[in-house]
């Protein structure tokens, strides 16, 4: 069996209390001689305190629960990484669960994590989660007195602390760049329809169009789903609509466009300009390097960690919502329109 505090106490002929006091560096009046003895014994016996037992007393697990759709998606993995990094720096561990965008799983992970006693629950809920499900998550969190933090997306109509990104101005900038270049037929590939994130991006597209004196045309909007294939499908559709530029609501769909454009021997950016959204790792490595709207992913993760950590220690429960700015990244996938013969 693993070494317990009792073992080290016994080893030095001192009491459990004494050992605990010394090892945790609590105010005490133990002689230097004995302190040394204790440190040595702990070392020698490979004593590792049982966090389980500690948590029992302290009501803290130093653990943060992270619920996200898909760790294999670079956007989320980057976020998870920067968040974990910051948390571990402060002695916190993160446990995570993949929901695969299944709202049922949002709930089961919530329960599991709460039962594990996470100090804070951070959730990036499924795209299609309903208001009812969101409420249930909040209710569970509250019934265990666990702070809840939503990142990347807000809880609809519920007052929950959140960290998100200004998607409207991000996509506005992207599309404005295209109108500035002189494009007049600009296609848009949206993400999952009922997603708030997606609709904010669409709003930015509309606004930029209207500011440039261009009409909004329904047939230039293709309903995608954030995956590569829908980008490919969108390409065929939009190209037939005669667009000279495409704004994709994420980089992955932009890659779908690249793929088919190349197959069809259509040159980017000469024949077709493409702008993405997210600035995932690979965006700069595809050819031509993709012009895109960068989400400050690392910063979101860092910010999330900061906020989670502060929620973990203070009981002060006012909700707070942080909105971060995107930045426009000009690379080589856009050019003035090339009138087709």
């Amino acid at each position: 069996m693993a070494t317990t505090i009792k073992d080290v106490a016994h080893e030095c002929g001192l009491s459990i209390t004494t050992v605990s006091l010394v090892l945790n560096n609590k105010p005490n009046r133990i002689s230097e001689k004995n302190k040394q003895k204790i440190f040595e014994a702990a070392q020698k016996l490979n004593y590792i305190p049982s966090q389980t037992a500690v948590s029992m007393k302290t009501k803290k697990t130093n653990t943060i629960g992270l619920i996200l759709p898909d760790i294999n998606n670079n956007y989320f993995s980057e976020l998870a990484k920067s968040m974990e990094e910051e948390c571990s720096l402060h002695g916190y561990t993160v446990i995570y669960g993949n929901t695969s965008d299944n709202p049922k799983k949002d709930l089961t992970y919530t329960t599991t994590f709460l039962s594990k006693g996470v100090d804070v629950l951070v959730v990036i809920h499924s795209n299609i989660s309903s208001l009812k499900e969101q409420k249930k998550i909040l209710e569970l969190a509250q019934s265990t007195n666990t702070p809840l933090l939503s990142i990347d997306r807000e809880f609809e109509k519920i007052d929950v602390s959140s960290i998100s990104v200004d998607r409207f101005s991000g996509s506005y900038q992207a599309v404005k760049h295209l109108t500035d270049l002189g494009h007049t037929r600009i296609g848009c590939i949206t993400g999952t329809n009922h997603s708030k994130r997606s609709s904010q991006r669409l709003q930015g597209y509309k606004q930029a169009l209207s500011d440039a004196g261009l009409p909004f045309e329904d047939e230039l909007v293709y309903s995608g789903d954030f995956h590569v294939e829908s980008g490919s499908d969108a390409f065929f559709y939009l190209w037939n609509q005669g667009v000279t530029a495409i704004f994709a609501c994420n980089d992955v769909m932009a890659m779908g466009v690249y793929l088919e454009a190349r197959r069809a021997n259509i040159d980017i950016p000469r024949d077709l300009s493409v702008v993405g959204f997210d600035d995932i790792f690979f965006a700069k490595y595809i050819y031509p390097p993709l012009t895109t709207v960068a989400q400050p992913i690392t910063e979101i993760g860092y910010e999330a960690a900061q906020q989670a950590l502060s929620m973990a220690s203070s009981t002060h429960a006012s909700t707070k919502s942080t909105i971060l700015k995107t930045s426009f990244v000009l690379r080589e996938s856009t050019a003035p329109p090339n009138i087709r013969k």
Copy 2:
């Protein structure tokens, strides 16, 4: 405060024991009437048992610790995902830590996770971890009686259960494909030098060359580091050496080759054939789709979960090492050599 078992016992006017027995569905002789009462009270009070307390008694946390270099690397995230999926199906949660290939962190996470009482510790240790560090990890695990599983790489000279991939035959196949096409000057971009994984791949390269009656030439091997940039650097170097084909020890470095080849207006596969290793998500979406050696990543994750779960329940401690097969994926990045003018 959160609802405890005491609260629900009080609510129904029954004892703690009774509630525990019923809720855990343990053999008991409680009347149907009272069982119902208990279920209802638990529901009503949003009772979520404290896993911390449960673990105290049962000595099980239903948690698996996963230590890996970088969750933002698609190879690891895919692995982590499939592993987590399988674990959660069996009621296990995974906690994870990013080491950024820093062997010191291998150790700190080991300690943290053991102190949290993980039921199994799964580690993908840093590329550059030394034998001494590996031994320390094993020692710590043993001193807490925690089963240890190594994936993707073996512990050098230490008898630890592991799951890995037959990298030798994978790279042999890749290079044989190139010699079969008629290539005679084939470059190789290796990964981090002292990594066993990398050297196994190099062995496959050598063997395939020799089987085709070709000499092994030191100057056709470029020492990379598994990152994009080193692929780009390798391209310049190898192209000057007059190669007509390149075998990159991972897909990400192959992407570096693509990038610079395109800039230099060198057509893949007409002027240069490229084969990668791993078959990451993006391999099929770049242009031309990358011919590569697929690691059965999902399977590794699944296998890892299976083995971890079995280690968690049985005390039977014989070590076991599993080696999985790679598969060759023919896409469009290779062709017979095109003699340069």
